[in-house]
């Protein structure tokens, strides 16, 4: 049994739109897997099915041997936007997940404090989100996500809205947090460089209806530094490999680059 097993999953929106078609994917425990594809290919839909937020209609999904269910404590979900509660301070926001999941107060504050220090937000514990930059808010969201003790992390383009420099910093930060614990990560992105730099495997999806067109193993050694990789020859090899797979997928599905 892997961490996540998806078998012949199909998703329809209404009678005509086939969003995801015959999607089969097995993810091992401790693997960092990215799913890339053009916008509208159903990446986020797959993630929402794993969280149970979208009901499963066709196919099978098993998460650590169990069917998806809303609020599954085995899953920590990180959204594209930071989703910080604006009336809570940084430390209170970092505690939000553990608070909902019933972790004792002293324990959750201690975890949040430790993680805020790791993400570089020490000194900003009592600031409200409006006083933080985009990058800092996403750091706080990372702290909130990692303070949950779920073995599986689902991340939906968490760095999509950040500028290039901040993005690299946060990618390195994510890798260092992940490296320490090796939880299973499913990372959705449309940025191939990001997927290659972070992942053990990159799953390439075609445009709608979303199908898997390639499953590329990234053999770059770990621990990695995303910034150092930017000038690394092997990294660019992997990048162009994934890129050509993506192009092939787009061409096969009718030549629509993005919706």
């Amino acid at each position: 049994m892997g961490a996540i097993d998806i078998f012949r999953l199909s998703v329809r929106f209404g009678p005509t739109v086939l969003a995801v078609d015959d999607f089969t994917l097995n993810i091992e425990k401790g693997e960092f897997v990215s799913i890339v594809g053009p916008s509208g290919c159903g990446k986020t839909t797959v993630l929402n099915l794993l969280t149970g937020l979208v009901p499963l209609e066709q196919g099978d999904i098993s998460i650590l041997g169990k069917v998806p269910v809303v609020g599954n404590p085995d899953i920590a979900y990180m959204l594209a936007r930071d989703s910080l509660l604006p009336w809570r301070t940084t430390i209170e926001n970092a505690c939000y997940g553990t608070e909902v999941r019933g972790v004792a107060r002293s324990e959750r504050v201690a975890r949040a404090r430790a993680l805020l220090a790791k993400v570089g937000l020490d000194g900003f514990e009592d600031a409200y989100p409006k006083a933080l930059s985009h990058g800092m808010r996403q750091r706080c969201a990372l702290a909130r996500t990692f303070s949950l003790d779920s073995p599986i992390m689902l991340m939906d383009e968490p760095f999509g809205a950040l500028d290039a420099q901040t993005k690299l910093q946060l990618e390195d930060l994510l890798l260092s947090l992940w490296q320490a614990e090796k939880r299973t990560v499913v990372f959705i992105t449309h940025d191939i460089a990001e997927a290659v730099a972070l992942s053990d495997r990159v799953i390439v999806m075609s445009a709608r209806p979303g199908r898997i067109v390639a499953d590329v193993r990234i053999a770059l050694p770990r621990p990695r530094s995303v910034r150092a990789l930017q000038k690394d020859h092997d990294f660019h090899e992997c990048y162009s490999q994934v890129w050509s797979e993506l192009e092939r997928g787009i061409a096969a599905s009718g030549g629509e680059p993005a919706r």
Binding site: L53, G71, Y128, L148
Partner: protein, 251 residues
């Protein structure tokens, strides 16, 4: 907020000139005192009214009490109903047409009815004030609840939050700023309703006094009352704004 001393000076000069000119014009009979009164007459009226034995304190007390009571009643009922809409959306759908009809009706037109039901005492003005504050606060409560970010709900559900947790940790706090601005309007509307009801008919209150002074052509008194009402309105709004700012430091 710091004020520029020169701006303050300009205002002082302007106000002094305005009242000086008014006083000058009325004492020289350029302005008819019967219709416009005079600043000195206004001041005399106010001093007499607020001096021991004067009746303005009592009238002011009635109006303020009526405003506060109808604001609290209207706001409490509106927030309770609005929040229950968040928990039971079917209730909102069921009540919506009736609330729309009631809200469309000019509430001051209900004053004659309320006077008949509740008499000339404080009851009828509270009824009018409450009917005004209730709807404005309800509208804001509903808008506040609808304005909750979908991301925050998604995140909370993925964490396994119960509907109760979502309500208290997400929906309610995120609705507070919109409810607060509704409360500010609600307080002003309460005052409006109370004074309106008093003008139509009442035993006591600034509105009743105003209407009496007008019918006896006491223009100094009418003008004095208008200034008093403006001042009262200002105190009410600044007070609410201060309170709002203290409560919503995170904004």
């Amino acid at each position: 907020m710091k004020r520029d001393p020169s701006t303050v000076l300009v205002h002082v000069v302007f106000v002094a000139a305005f009242f000086g000119l008014w006083e000058f014009a009325s004492s020289n009979e350029w302005l008819n005192r019967t219709f416009f009164g005079s600043p000195s007459g206004i001041v005399r009226y106010l001093i007499k009214g607020f001096a021991p034995g004067g009746k303005l304190w009592l009238e002011l007390g009635y109006t303020v009490a009526g405003t506060v009571i109808s604001f609290v009643l209207g706001a409490v009922m509106a927030i309770a109903l609005g929040l229950s809409f968040a928990v039971f959306p079917r209730l909102e759908r069921a009540m919506d047409p009736y609330l729309t009809v009631l809200n469309a009706m000019p509430r001051l037109a209900l004053a004659p009815l309320f006077l008949l039901w509740f008499g000339l005492g404080i009851g009828s003005k509270i009824a009018v004030g409450t009917s005004l504050s209730f709807f404005i606060v309800l509208a804001n409560t509903v808008a506040g609840i609808r304005g909750v970010s979908g991301d925050l709900i998604t995140l909370s559900r993925s964490l396994g939050a119960t509907p109760m947790q979502i309500f208290f940790k997400v929906t309610l706090p995120s609705a507070v700023p919109v409810i607060a601005s509704g409360l500010r309007l609600g307080l002003i509307f309460s005052m409006l309703g109370v004074i309106g009801a008093e003008i139509i008919a009442a035993e006591h209150g600034l509105g009743q006094t105003l209407s009496y002074l007008q019918s006896t052509f006491d223009m100094d008194g009418v003008m004095a009352l208008l200034f008093l009402l403006a001042l009262l309105g200002m105190v009410v709004t600044t007070g609410m704004t201060r309170l709002e700012r203290a409560l919503l430091r995170w904004q």
